[in-house]
């Protein structure tokens, strides 16, 4: 595959995903999801515990210190989308290198 085509897919696809995260996330429904709904209806919501030993840096998809939800959620979405892309791309690239090295031997 040509290099430009590989870059085109990565760049175009990532742009599309970031666009979705930034532009659509403010319109996402805040209603409880399927499991939260069942937990409320069947009365086991209170079993949820917050883990004292672990606090994620960006709670509830809101950047700390950014007050406006219209700004904070899209920012969190953009960061998460790019981070996820980078991690999976890196893992896939590493696996491909290892495959090539094994087959060269």
């Amino acid at each position: 595959m040509r290099k430009s085509s590989k870059r085109g897919l990565a760049g175009g696809g990532l742009l599309l995903a970031v666009g979705i995260a930034i532009l659509l996330s403010p319109f996402a429904s805040n209603s409880p999801d399927g499991l939260e709904r069942v937990a409320q209806d069947k009365g086991f919501t209170e079993k949820e515990t917050s883990h004292l030993a672990f606090q994620a840096p960006i709670q509830n998809y809101a950047i700390p210190g950014v007050k406006s939800g219209w700004l904070s959620t899209p920012m969190a979405g953009g960061i998460g989308t790019v981070l996820t892309f980078g991690l999976v791309y890196g893992i896939a690239q590493t696996l491909a290198w290892r495959r090539k090295r094994n087959s060269d031997r």
Binding site: I20, S29, R37, T84, V88, I91, A96
Partner: protein, 211 residues
Amino acid sequence: MHIPDGFLDTKTWLALDLASATTLGVAVRKTRNIIGEKQIPLMGVMAAFIFAAQMINFPVAAGTSGHFMGGVLAAILLGPFSAGLILAVVLIVQCVVFQDGGITALGANIFNMGIIGNIGGYMLYLAARRLGGKSRVSTGAVFVAAWLSIVLAAGACAVELALSGTVPLKVALPAMAGVHAIIGVGEGLITVLVLKFIMRVRPDLLELEKV
């Protein structure tokens, strides 16, 4: 259906950590055996798209929302094991960076949304394709496979809640399956639409070797 901390007891989440870690180990080896230049960007883009789409909760019946899961979409393009790897990374980022899904429930969430749904849905998709004898993607098979992946994940979640003593199975299973049967319609529609879009703009991506 990201399970938070506290819903599962220790034996259940430990067992699911083990099950998910073992399956992901297999997935890494299988993916490494087939991965080529074309799969690398597509895996990254698929993960980015799934993360983004999972943020967009859409309303379903009676004050409830659901969101796209993406397992069957990734499995149809890249295969169920690569899909498992992608979903695992999405779920790890959601958990570790955004506290979406409990840290003790991470293995369970990967098992439900990254493994059971993809593999079950993809197997149904393959069976339907074989029966239809068509080499092209059949819209009906894609829709049902994507729908099934959500219901399977919800069913697994219900079983885990019951094993943990959180809620009896006869209460959890119909409730979880019922609400997710509705959310699954959204999953089916989005999966079909995205595949149709890819068929139009990059049909070559449907012909990749899958694992």
